[in-house]
């Protein structure tokens, strides 16, 4: 009988995660030529810090995409979760609700709000069997609507110290937010590679009926993924709030496009069951480096968008050529 060629198949599958590596190398070379500052530790650290919120949302979205679902509302959680938590804590004079909960609760509250939104999404999608795309599109509007409504569109300038701390402290030379990203990505990579729960996401995304037949508690896992996704987005919002020192009514708005771009150019499939967290991370890096180089080079503002889009397109083509496989 047969004996399908072993080596190439295995290697190719792993390779899929690395198709962006040549793009990253290329960007590093271009950046180095464009501006001597580019390759300094300081600048690269900045890139990492600037992308840390995006990275966490990409992590959340990658988990959800691998499970074969979809969540657009994450971008609204990035703004709304910290805003609501802060409003619960700060006095009414600083645009708070007037509840003035203890400041120590601020961070847990942020995460709780994110988890709650994720749980609600999960409820509608898993239990009520509504389309994930359209539910989370509606929730994108609803969650941002709550943010706008409660804050009356005002920015929050008074933010508890604990939150600012996250955005401004460094630890062993790297900003705390970068450590968050490193640890959470490492954790996710390990869980998705070496734990049954992680493999269950691939099984569910790959063939939900087969996963159910294999005894995976599909509904419970999916619901958990939505809750985790909401929590990670809230954490991203927390880091972003710390970095920016305040919460504008626009925080997170429009971010979801970049989130999908990073995940998908990083090899995570929109069809579910395919891609890795490491791949998604390379996607984030590409986006971060492109933005940084464009800033450093100082392209005329009106042409920046075009060049940005073109670089993404070219990255995509390079990764397609390197990967050798049709994308989906």
């Amino acid at each position: 009988m047969t004996s399908v060629a072993l080596r190439p198949g295995v290697k190719l599958a792993r390779f899929r995660d690395l198709t962006l590596v040549p793009v990253i190398v290329l960007l590093l070379v271009v950046g180095a030529f464009a501006n001597p500052i580019f390759l300094t530790a300081g600048n690269l650290t900045n890139v990492l810090q600037q992308q840390s919120a995006l990275a966490l949302v990409v992590l959340a979205e990658a988990l959800i995409l691998i499970s074969g679902k979809f969540d657009l509302s994450l971008e609204s959680i990035v703004g709304m979760a910290p805003a609501v938590a802060v409003m619960l804590v700060v006095p009414a004079a600083s645009n708070g609700f007037g509840t003035e909960l203890p400041a120590a609760l601020a961070i847990p509250l942020v995460l709780l709000v994110g988890a709650a939104v994720g749980a609600f999404n999960g409820f509608l999608i898993v239990r009520f069997q509504l389309s994930a795309f359209i539910v989370t599109l509606a929730m994108l509007i609803v969650v941002h609507g709550l943010h706008l409504g409660w804050s009356e569109g005002k920015s929050l300038f008074k933010v508890p110290e604990s939150i600012l701390f996250l955005g401004s402290t460094t630890f062993v030379g790297l900003p705390v937010s970068v450590w968050f990203v490193i640890i959470l990505f490492a954790l996710a990579i390990v869980v998705l590679r070496y734990f049954r729960l992680g493999r269950a996401l691939y099984a569910i995304g790959g063939n939900i009926d087969a996963a159910r037949a294999a005894g995976i508690r599909v509904d419970r896992v999916l619901w958990g993924v939505f809750i985790l996704g909401g929590t990670l987005a809230a954490l991203a919002g927390l880091l972003e709030t710390g970095r920016l020192g305040g919460i504008s009514a626009n925080q997170g708005v429009g971010m979801i496009f970049m989130v999908f771009a990073a995940a998908v150019i990083g090899g995570v499939s929109m069809d579910g069951g395919k891609g890795t967290i490491f791949g998604a991370l390379t996607g984030v890096l590409v986006i971060g480096l492109v933005e940084n180089i464009l800033s450093l080079v100082g392209v005329a503002p009106e042409w920046r968008q075009l060049i940005y889009g073109m670089i993404i397109l070219v990255s995509l083509i390079i990764s397609r050529v390197v990967g050798g496989k049709a994308q989906d």
Partner: protein
């Protein structure tokens, strides 16, 4: 002087239709809050205000709806000045006067434009920074969105003023698209490459203030104006948080864009229009000047530069809101 011709056709009855441009920025939220207050003071009847979310297509829809509800005058703030032309034409044909707040439509008849001069903001910021820096060094301009005419006006005026009056100053332009996150990243990157940057002009305090302070703080550049490491920051809008920052010495100045006067005179002129009054170019009784435009008149309201010296002035709108 302003000449008030008596109402041609009896009384100024009728409701004013108002469209708000957006509800997600601090400046416009203050404006939105002033509108009903001023309407009460001026005894102007208004329809339920609509909101066009910074989208000119929505603005056009909203105006149609307002007219459908019987608006006799329209107050709008088209953040885009080109694509409002045919709406203005239609309103003119229906004899509905239009007061445009904050922006000046390129074509199409307007009864009155109520705005401060955005080019003047840029020039004021340039002159302030130029003097503080002694005509040399590097400054960053955190711009709004290219698509916004106000952002463009401020950017161009700042750029041109720097070029002509302070050629020794190098200007870096960052298109932040009114986004705080982008502003922080761009400023951080720029400071990494040019640690000797000494001045920042922010187009919108509402979105740029907190991130800028946070970046400066992380770089330990948030120091008193006397310190040689101090980075001079000029903001734009005049919201209370900017005044706080000025008092603390974190930033040095802001251009106070008068949200209260915008609301007050928008309604004032809308009422006047319904009453059939007309105005002439020239100085007004409220410290401003009316100028003639090809398609109407413009009342250029004063937009003072606020510094440590005058930051406690009770007349500044930023000192009258919470």
């Amino acid at each position: 002087g302003t000449t008030n011709t008596p109402a041609a056709t009896g009384g100024g009855g009728g409701k004013v239709g108002i469209d708000h441009p957006r509800a997600d920025s601090d400046f416009w939220n203050s404006y939105i809050k002033y509108v009903p207050q001023m309407a009460g003071e001026l005894k102007v009847e208004t329809l339920n205000p609509t909101n066009s979310q910074n989208d000119v297509a929505k603005l056009v829809n909203n105006v149609q709806t307002l007219v459908g509800q019987g608006a006799r005058a329209i107050v709008m703030a088209p953040q885009d000045t080109g694509a409002i032309a045919s709406t203005l034409q239609q309103l003119e044909s229906k004899q509905i006067p239009v007061v445009s707040v904050d922006t000046r439509p390129d074509t199409g008849k307007v009864y009155m434009v109520v705005r401060a001069d955005n080019r003047a903001y840029g020039t004021k910021a340039c002159e302030f920074l130029g003097e503080k820096l002694g005509g040399k060094g590097k400054v960053v301009q955190l711009m709004g969105a290219l698509q916004s005419v106000n952002g463009r006006d401020r950017a161009e005026a700042f750029r041109e003023c720097m070029k002509s009056k302070f050629p020794g100053i190098e200007v870096f332009e960052e298109p932040t698209e009114w986004d705080g996150g982008k502003a922080a990243s761009m400023l951080q990157t720029r400071l990494e490459a040019h640690p000797d940057i000494k001045g920042i002009y922010m187009h919108a305090g509402g979105v740029h203030l907190a991130p800028t302070l946070q970046v400066l703080k992380a770089k330990s550049l948030l120091v008193a104006p006397e310190d040689p490491k101090h980075v001079f920051v000029v903001s734009n809008d005049g919201i209370p948080q900017e005044f706080d920052a000025i008092r603390k010495g974190e930033i040095d100045a802001t251009v106070s864009q008068p949200a209260d006067l915008y609301a007050k005179y928008a309604l004032f002129y809308a009422k006047a229009a319904m009453e059939g009054k007309t105005f002439q170019p020239g100085p007004t009784d409220h410290g401003s000047t009316i100028i003639q435009l090809p398609n109407g008149l413009e009342d250029q309201l004063p937009a003072p530069l606020v510094t440590k010296e005058n930051v406690d002035d009770k007349n500044l709108w930023g000192n009258t809101v919470g």
